[in-house]
Structure formats: C-alpha cells, structure tokens
Symmetry: C2
Subunit: 219 residues, 2 copies
DNA sequence: ATGTTCTTGTGATCTCTTTCACAAGCGAGA
DNA sequence: TCTCGCTTGTGAAAGAGATCACAAGAACAT
C-alpha cells in the first residue's frame, strides 16, 4: 500500500465517497471516473490516479461498481469503525456542533462535551451533557475519545489541545484562530473562518487589479 | 506585481498578518523572517519567498518593521477597506457566525442575514435583524454586500449561492457540505467539517498502519 | 471468432511549490 | 573608514502534484 498520500488526495477521496454514498442511496450501479470527476469538481485522470494509490477497483470499459468502491473508500479512510469525538468549549460554535446531525449519520459519536464555565456544566445540548474540565481525562479514557474538537477562545486553545492529547486524543480539529502545536503522530486540521474570509478578500481584490490591468491594455 | 499567487501563499500571508497584528499590539518593533516563520509554522525561506512576490519589505541584517509590514500585508490582502458580509441561513451555524465578535474587529461588517423560515424572520441576532429572502436582492445592492456566507441546508445551498452572486456577491464562503458551482470570477472557499474529520480519520488510521509495518519490521 | 467501443491503470511529462544556498546590503563598533 | 555579524531577496535545484496519452482489458454485437 502507498507510502505517503497527500492531503489533497485525501480530501478528494472524501469527496468521491460523499458522491458514491449519494449514488448508492439512489441505487445507481456503476460510475465512471469521469462521472465522479464531474460531480466532485476534478478531472477523470485525477480520480483514477487518486484511486490507483490504493489498488485497482474498476473494470476497464465499464467503470466502478458504486457500492463496492464506496465500501473500499470507507475502508481506506478508516470509516468502517465508529469514532468518538469530544467537543471542548461549548459556546456558540461548540453548541452548533453538538446539534449537528451529520456527525452521527456519518459514523462520528459525539461522546462528550466540556466547558470551563460552571454555568454551562450540566446543560444538555443535543443529547450530550456538558461536563466540567475536571472530568476530561477520565471521560476520554472511559469512552475511548480519539478526536478532540477545540471550540474554546484562542487563549485556552493550546492548553486544551495539549490536555486532550495527553488524555488520549489522536486527532485534533481546531476552530480557534491560532496555530496549535501537537506532538508529531497526532493528526491536526484547522477550520479557520477568518483565514478563509481574508483569502476571499484577496481574491476579489486581486481580480479587481487584473481587471484594471486588462482595461489599461485595451486603452 | 505578481501574476498568479497560490492559495497556500495567500493563506500563509493571512497567518503572517495575524502574527504581525499581535506583535504590533504589544509594540514589538521588528521581526525577522525566522521569527514570523516560527510563529506561523513554516520556514524562514518560505516567508521571504512569499513576501518577495509582492515587493521587498525588509532591511537586510535587521528584519521587517512590524507595523510597516502589517500595513503592507493589509494592503495586499485588500483589508484596508471594510467588507460587507451577508449570512444566508440563520440556523445553528449561521447564528453562531452572527454572534462572532472577530468579524467586526477585523474589518468585516455583518450587513445582513436571511432565512427562509418565517419564524426566524424579524429576530435580532447579534445586532443583525433576520430578513426574509424576498429582500435579498434589494439589500445586497443597498448595502454593497460583496461576500455571501452560505449556512443553509445542503439542498438550498446551490440555489442561494447562485442568487447571492446574481445579487452582486463577488465571493462565497460555503459551510454546506456540497460542491457549489459559481461563475468564474467569483471567489469561493469552503468550510467543510465532515471533510476535515474524515481527513483526520484517515491520518489516524494510516499512522496506525505505518506503526504496524514498523512493528513487523522489528520482528 | 472477430471487430468495435468504452474506460481503466499508469508511466512519462509538465507545472507548480518548496527548499537551498549565497551574494548583496545594512548597522554597529573599532 | 573598514570589518564583522546578521538577515534579506532571489536565482537555481529539488520535490510534489496534476495532466497527458496510450496500451491493456472488458463487454457486446455481428
Ligand atoms: N462564533 C463563531 O462563529 C466562530 C467561528 C469561527 C471560529 N470561532 C472560534 O471558535 C472559538 C469559540 O468561539 P465561540 O464564538 O463559540 O465563543 P464563545 O465565547 O461563545 O464560547 C467559548 C466557550 O468556551 C468556554 N471556555 C473558555 N475557556 C475554556 C477552557 N479553558 N476550556 C473549556 N472551555 C472553555 C467558554 O465558557 C465558552 O462557553 C473561538 O476561538 C472563536 O474564535 C468562532
Ligand atoms: N451545525 C453545525 O455544526 C454545522 C457544521 C458544519 C456545517 N454545517 C452545515 O451548515 C449548514 C447549516 O447547518 P445548521 O446546523 O446551521 O442547520 P439548521 O437547520 O440549524 O439551519 C439551517 C437554516 O437555514 C434555513 N433555510 C432553509 N432553507 C433556506 C433557504 N433556501 N434560504 C435561506 N435559509 C434557509 C432554515 O430555516 C434554518 O434556519 C448545513 O448545510 C450544514 O450541513 C453545520
């Protein structure tokens, strides 16, 4: 099996899987690399290359068996087991996540939620009871939490991440706009709205400049 | 000025800017490419290369003037103006965004919010009144909305994006887990929690496999 | 059987990004 | 003024990822 798979490949695999699940639900039997590519915004060659890192799943002349490939991709991505997720910080973002139905549907169990604010402890949000931080270590180990979602203010984010990892988390999803340090071997992804918004501003601004230049050229 | 700047460069520029703002606030005068690199998780050479696309901002032997470079980066990213943002879909995620203080701080005005549900229309969330969809076009043009944040259910996302663009949005930030199509010339970024979570699962799973292989080798 | 039509899997190639390495430049101190 | 220590800016090299292009199958019709 392949050595090192790039993040962009993994992201695309998720997209293919999402598409395959939809096709499977509506009982489409086969799909071509082109079919997958068009639905996920990439090229047929890219789809085939991505899959080829893991084996050969299609039939020449025919395409891929939808259900089959779906199962294969779930296997590859590690989605044949369920994953226990804990949410740290139950503020605006944290509680939105607790109420997010998609998680359970997709194999993620929101196993616990923690908050430093005593006023929030004990609340039931989306079927999860908010626990005090003091119970973090015990709960992580009891419920086999392997993914921690950081939704605390920036000031607390690094500390909470470190603590989650020490308590057994193997992966961290960070919503706070700070770069977090985690030991190597721990997976880490960030969801940074401000970064994305600023990126959009750049794109719009730069597009404007290009338009200006074109206009100049026409003169 | 440079031709085409990659997304990864733009993301890093945002990170540098975030760091510079923090340094500026605590009145540090100068910073080296290494200093910036360490704080943002990259390398000194990368920092210099990124900046070099836009000009030459440092002093050899000294480093960069913090305030100066901050202003330059704000200029480059297009953050010297304010941007009007509209939130489409005021559910769990949408209302979390409306209450997010960072936006206003950073030059983004949440100028409007829309929802299809009559029960939500008229509510005041984080100082923004929720409007019916019928007012979308007029409001976008009145308030110069240029960024639309999609926070509706997946089914409505494409339609809302199309409508926002037609109403004048130049950029779309999408929270719904679907690939949206927008005309070329419109900037588009997505925030997809499930994609990131699945990516984390892959990383944890793959790391496990590597560990297995190492263990085998040792035998 | 044979030919026709599709679509996969994959080396080869191209393009884009990151890293390297060092001359050029700046300030401080003698 | 000259030297020394330090850091930038940038071509050149290396590395990664995306695209091309085509031989190798698979089904089906004749
Ligand atoms: N609100 C948004 O739309 C939004 C969007 C993107 C990112 N974020 C980021 O997500 C994070 C949370 O934002 P929010 O708007 O939900 O903030 P919030 O203030 O609504 O919630 C933060 C919660 O974290 C809790 N908390 C504080 N310290 C803690 C600690 N040490 N351990 C555990 N919990 C702690 C607080 O009690 C509070 O309940 C912030 O870093 C923010 O920048 C928010
Ligand atoms: N809740 C989360 O934590 C979370 C996280 C990531 C992504 N998302 C995604 O964000 C989107 C919204 O999620 P949510 O949890 O806030 O859902 P939600 O059901 O709480 O909110 C959706 C809102 O959109 C409104 N709406 C429906 N159709 C609309 C239309 N055509 N135009 C405008 N508004 C419309 C609904 O009235 C509702 O208020 C979904 O696509 C979801 O997959 C949610």
């Amino acid at each position: 099996m392949a050595r090192k798979i790039s993040d962009s490949t993994v992201r695309r695999l998720s997209r293919y899987l999402r598409r395959l699940r939809a096709l499977d639900r509506r009982e489409q039997k086969v799909v071509s690399s082109r079919g997958l590519a068009e639905a996920t915004g990439t090229t047929a060659a890219q789809v085939r290359k991505d899959l080829s890192h893991f084996g050969s799943f299609g039939k020449r002349g025919q395409g891929y068996d939808v259900h089959d490939l779906r199962v294969q991709l779930e296997e590859i991505l590690g989605l044949t087991r369920r994953w226990s997720v804990a949410v740290l910080g139950v503020g605006k973002i944290g509680s939105a996540l607790l109420g997010y139905g998609f998680f359970t549907e997709r194999g993620f169990d929101v196993a616990a939620a923690f908050d430093a604010d005593p006023a929030k402890v004990g609340l039931d949000l989306g079927g999860v009871r908010v626990q005090p931080l003091s119970e973090l270590e015990q709960t992580f180990s009891d419920r086999g939490v392997s993914i921690a979602i950081i939704a605390t203010p920036v000031e607390a984010a690094q500390e909470m991440a470190t603590r989650a990892v020490r308590a057994g988390a193997r992966a961290v999803l960070n919503f706070a706009p700070v770069k977090l340090n985690v030991p190597s071997g721990v997976a880490m992804r960030e969801m940074d709205v401000t970064l994305e918004l600023e990126g959009l501003c750049y794109m719009v601004t730069a597009a404007g400049h290009v338009a200006d230049r074109l206009a100049d050229d026409i003169e």
